[in-house]
Symmetry: C3
Subunit: 246 residues, 3 copies
Amino acid sequence: SAASASASATTTTSPATSPSADALEQVAPGLARYQREDLEEGLWARPGLAARDRHLVTLAHLVGSGQTQHLTTYLEDALDAGLTPAEVSETVTHLAFYSGWENAASAVGPLQEVFAARGVSAQDLPAASPDLLPLDQAAEAARAEQVQSTYGEVSQGVVDSTGEVLFRDLWLRPDLAPRDRSLVTVTALVSSGQVQQIPFHLGRAMDNGLTEAEVGETMHQLAFYAGWPKVFSAMPTVGEVLAARR
Amino acid sequence: SAASASASATTTTSPATSPSADALEQVAPGLARYQREDLEEGLWARPGLAARDRHLVTLAHLVGSGQTQHLTTYLEDALDAGLTPAEVSETVTHLAFYSGWENAASAVGPLQEVFAARGVSAQDLPAASPDLLPLDQAAEAARAEQVQSTYGEVSQGVVDSTGEVLFRDLWLRPDLAPRDRSLVTVTALVSSGQVQQIPFHLGRAMDNGLTEAEVGETMHQLAFYAGWPKVFSAMPTVGEVLAARR
Amino acid sequence: SAASASASATTTTSPATSPSADALEQVAPGLARYQREDLEEGLWARPGLAARDRHLVTLAHLVGSGQTQHLTTYLEDALDAGLTPAEVSETVTHLAFYSGWENAASAVGPLQEVFAARGVSAQDLPAASPDLLPLDQAAEAARAEQVQSTYGEVSQGVVDSTGEVLFRDLWLRPDLAPRDRSLVTVTALVSSGQVQQIPFHLGRAMDNGLTEAEVGETMHQLAFYAGWPKVFSAMPTVGEVLAARR
């Protein structure tokens, strides 16, 4: 059965399986069974969240928490599942701000390796300074005012960079859809235990098109990849956001 | 004195010393002294928590937080201190769910290396699907109902997997005692700052046989290995659990 | 422009740029632009916090969160910017206690490499047991009493080690100024999401000489390096500490 799991892992729709089923079998037979039954044949095959989105969530968790040991395999699987090189590139760029610069920087080496093997070149990637998506002026004014009043007394530098670099630049880059940026951001928040920041970004995610069913399965995906405790700590707040929008 | 510390580190009862005392002396003489006086001759020699349990806690913290650089040394020391290969294998399997899949997966390589060097083979390890320990039906029904009512509106998938994969499978695997699974779980919670999840799991740990003295020294062990701030943030909640049971 | 960014990165006042601008350009052109415009020419050039302090904060975040992939480059840059080998050595030693032993231990290899290349030897480093700074007896008595009453019922071991190892030893080591130890500690707290521990240590930092402007720019530096969510979660508490002292 290790061999069949290994074989199934080479198809483009199957989930990331790292380390190999054989390696798992050798040291943790239980873990190998969970990988096969509960990840490959279970979680990744469930409805409610597209396989492509499950890869986006998993990748965002791994890059955002600096877990690079098997990252090339996860990147290969994510590209096979339909994420474009441009989307992966922008996901890493987005996480520099939502998970810390060096977590993104630590993904650059694996990304170089995978892109080189597939012949991904500059023309496949986002421009450094593309034409930006239109800004929702009213929503941005409300956000800016809230951040100014909450944080301005502590650090005007943070307030200014939040507007200039994040909300009037990063979020408007066109090569990752706002809904996907939100999914990456919510993932980063759950993955790093930043529950307080969930209401704003989960509300924004749903404004950007994420559905209730997708939110639920994102939590399920993260239970396996970020661990049960972080998801259990996040879910009451997630529930409040969902309830308030019903 | 670096030489004597190095020598003592090769006995089977001494604690994990990574990196070597010599390396520490070269770049951080203070840290080398703390390792000798406060870890090796201090913390690891204290009563209240068995050396074997201190290794279990330390290993659970390191695997659960993805700190793999010196993991082979810690694994060697843990096995020398009396943890069995089957217990170590199950600890990693358990942490896949309580610290996130990839943290467990990142320990597989070091585990392969250490098991191979000691000739650990399949028959020394837990079966993929062993006969499970008996389930406490009443406690499980209460847990299931609480999780359903708290999280069911957010993600039925999480609720279902919590029951099917964790509490009616993982926790009942016989090759790591429930008390040890609880110790690993509480360690993972303190180590990742998930204080909200401590009451349930610490109560369960004590139901499973962990004593007050062991809880206190687990916090002490984690102060050094997970850092003072995480332990200080966890201890008020730990104290409430202890007080409520007195 | 990648070339000019690369060139500017070799001067002693420029910030840490890892990975290289060329590598970033190849996989994430947007991230390369942010590194150039918003880090190198932006954040690191701002007033309010000295470049040397920005390196101390950045280094403390990276070591404290185990992000070692580009650590030698950051160490080189920090030494070029004026941190002494003794200060860097003590920073790593300090973080063993405030970010967990193994995060400090994981920095020892990179530190050996950088010190060896620069011919740093034992006489450039702090003694294992130097003459300690004088202890503020009244402040220490108040701290000890508060810790005893809060945590004594849970773990007398933690209480004792907090006094003996941390506040009557580590904090009094003379090769890193108390103000710098506080800056390293506050960084570790924000970086690991330990907001509850901020009031005590931020108050102590300001007692030790850290200014309001420096606190604000430390938050700004950490927004980029530890990520926006951790800084947003910390800033309300930081603001309360600042307000209470005005």
